[in-house]
């Protein structure tokens, strides 16, 4: 009778039965593959998590904003902070005033001075980060005043002795007492509390619940500083931000006698730079974890070799019963492939469980294994199963049936 040889379906069943029979070997191999694939999934998820975290931080800093820093940056493009040591010319309130009349594309302009000062009230004292700014800042950062009011509309150069404090500062200085309307001492000056910020007031990485805001002119006096730390410009809706950036630079060039001595940063583009850096990082850690896949591949080769030498007589028998070289090789390759597939799936599962755990422990970091890492690691696991088992499987296929039946491996 004419026969075709063992079918694919039966080959898979046969290989599967062998794996079930040699449990220890199977579980060792599964473990190795699980660790290898799992570490790729987990490490890339970590990289992605870091990337997502930084993205979120930048998003909190405000997208669609322009930030003016005194000092000149050296390169165009991504836009980092200016190099240290360059002589800079202050950005002043006069500049800000001039910007108002020149920039028609700007919706809001908030000057910013930052410093830390000792604040005391009710015989309690603590160091507080103080932001000198104006009412626009509240709108730009979407700060919500829980009690009282935010700054009244007034010119930037009016130094009113008022302040809005964060909720944490209120708790520590006033406890359960009424804060709005009370006076606090900042350095050697007195300010009346006109408002308290609600809960977690986040502004570009500063936690304002632990800070206080005062008018920018007051801050200039308090810190005895003329120059501004930052100027934040919010464009009008639908106004091209790149155009506004150019106009802003042009305005400063005019104001500063033709010298372009400020840096205008788009947090959006900085976010992009960091995004690229972290993407590369994810790729890097993924590749390092990928080395364990190769190690697992070497283990595949070893275990397949052991399998071949343990089952020499069986190979002889299969040959006597009419299995061709081709079929024997296929049986051993399938064994390895099934193992690697099962290991890879376990690895993906284990990795994703770790990701879930990470998300539970650190909810602010958006851990997530990128699909390409999962896909590639599974593919590499299968490929290494095929490549590394090829040699031992071919060796099994090559055996002379008469020698193999006698248990002699050649």
């Amino acid at each position: 009778m004419k026969t075709q040889g063992i079918s694919w379906r039966d080959s898979v069943f046969f290989a599967g039965a062998v794996l079930r029979r040699y449990r220890f070997r199977t579980s060792m191999m599964l473990l190795a593959m699980t660790l290898a694939v799992g570490s790729v999934v987990a490490f890339t998820a970590l990289g992605e998590g870091a990337r997502g975290y930084v993205r979120n931080e930048f998003a909190a800093m405000g997208t669609n904003l322009l930030v003016v820093l005194p000092g000149r940056k050296e390169t165009t493009g991504g836009g980092g902070p200016p190099p240290i040591g360059t002589a800079t010319r202050d950005v002043t309130l006069a500049d800000v005033k001039a910007l108002h009349s020149r920039l028609h594309g700007a919706e809001r302009i908030a000057p910013l001075i930052v410093g830390t000062v000792e604040v005391s009230a009710n015989a309690r004292t603590r160091d507080v980060m103080v932001l000198g700014t104006n009412a626009d800042y509240f709108s730009i950062r979407e700060l919500v005043v829980m009690n009282g009011n935010s700054f009244p509309a007034m010119d930037n150069d009016v130094a009113q002795p008022v302040c809005v404090i964060g909720s944490k500062v209120r708790d520590e200085l006033f406890g359960s007492q009424q804060a709005v309307g009370s006076w606090v001492k900042m350095g050697d000056r007195r300010f009346r509390v006109i408002g308290v910020l609600s809960g977690k007031a986040d502004a570009s990485g500063f936690d304002l619940s632990d800070g206080a805001l005062i008018p920018v002119a007051s801050a200039q006096m308090l810190f005895n500083r003329e120059g501004l730390f930052r100027v934040i410009v919010q464009p009008r809706a639908y106004y091209d931000i790149d155009k506004l950036q150019q106009e802003l630079l042009g305005a400063f060039r005019e104001l500063h006698q033709g010298e372009e001595d400020v840096t205008v940063v788009k947090p959006d583009s900085m976010m992009k730079t960091f995004d690229n850096i972290f993407s590369a990082l994810t790729l890097g850690v993924g590749a390092i974890a990928g080395i364990s896949l190769l190690v697992a591949g070497v283990l595949v080769m070893n275990l397949t070799l052991i399998s071949v030498s343990q089952r020499t007589k069986e190979i002889g028998l299969l040959k006597a019963l009419g299995a061709s070289q081709h079929h024997i090789r296929r049986l051993f390759l399938l064994e390895s492939l099934l193992l690697c597939l099962a290991g890879a799936l376990c690895g993906v599962l284990a990795g994703e469980l770790l990701v879930l755990l990470g998300r539970t422990l650190w909810p602010s970091v958006p851990f997530a294994a990128p699909w390409w890492a999962v896909f590639t690691s599974v593919c590499i696991a299968l490929l290494s199963g095929l490549v590394f088992a090829w040699l031992p499987a071919s060796r099994a296929a090559r055996q002379q049936p008469v020698d193999a039946l006698a248990g002699k491996l050649t």
Binding site: T3, G5, A17, E314, K319, G322, S324, V402
Partner: protein, 230 residues
């Protein structure tokens, strides 16, 4: 019909050259019952291996059915083994992790026979061997005689032209050995050519045709005597 012509198979063991088959010529007709006897090292097992395509002769011609097998491609040789030859080994060579039924189905699995047909044929063979109650036992749960019966079932399930048996009763007590011989002879009576290698003269004497081997050559063959008797 089986025809070997000037089959040579030499081995080198260190400096020594062993002439396991030294230009052996032999013709066996379909349905014959042949025993091959001789002391160990006389080449009788090598003959069986060559005839079973488990070993390749150095030179000569070996026609099985109407096909010349010497110089055949490996894949084609595997096809011949699974379609035309059944083996019965002294050490049974059952796969330990497979049940009696699965061992009998194994050649059909390797041949690509459909699962439903495999089951039907294995069931028929198990019944014929009187092993239907032991079908789901592993080899280690079977007696030696039962194991060899499973091995014989495995050898006949593909309906081969020839069964090659290498000391089939070598590991058995005389009673199970007798049962196995009876079974093999029944199969021969149903038309399958049977060639048995044994060093046991009593066992060998059961065959109608007896070939005696010595030093890689046929020392005696009663084939012609039989022909004369006819």
């Amino acid at each position: 019909m089986i025809r070997l012509q000037n089959i040579v198979r030499h081995f080198t063991l260190g400096d020594e050259e062993i002439r396991a088959l030294d230009s052996v010529s032999l013709r066996i007709d379909a349905g014959e019952y042949v025993s091959v006897m001789g002391p160990s090292g006389s080449g009788k097992s090598t003959l069986l291996n060559v005839m079973g395509l488990l070993d390749t002769p150095d030179s000569g011609s070996y026609v099985l059915g109407d096909v010349e097998t010497v110089g055949m491609h490996e894949e084609a040789r595997a096809n011949v083994r699974r379609e035309k030859i059944g083996f019965v080994f002294q050490a049974y060579h059952l796969v330990p992790r497979l049940t009696a039924r699965e061992n009998i189905e194994l050649p059909m699995v390797l041949a690509g026979v459909a699962p439903s047909e495999r089951r039907a044929r294995a069931t028929a063979v198990l019944q014929r061997l009187g092993l239907d109650t032991r079908a789901d036992h592993l080899p280690q749960q079977l007696s030696g005689g039962q194991r060899q019966r499973v091995a014989i079932g495995r050898a006949v399930v593909m309906k081969p032209q020839i069964i090659l048996a290498d000391e089939p009763t070598g590991n058995l007590d005389s009673r199970s050995g007798h049962d196995v011989m009876v079974l093999l002879e029944e199969l021969n009576a149903s038309g399958i050519t049977l060639l048995m290698v044994t060093h046991d003269n009593v066992l060998g004497a059961r065959a109608r045709r007896q070939i005696v081997f010595g030093d890689g050559c046929i020392v005696s063959d009663n084939h012609h005597a039989m022909a004369v008797q006819k």
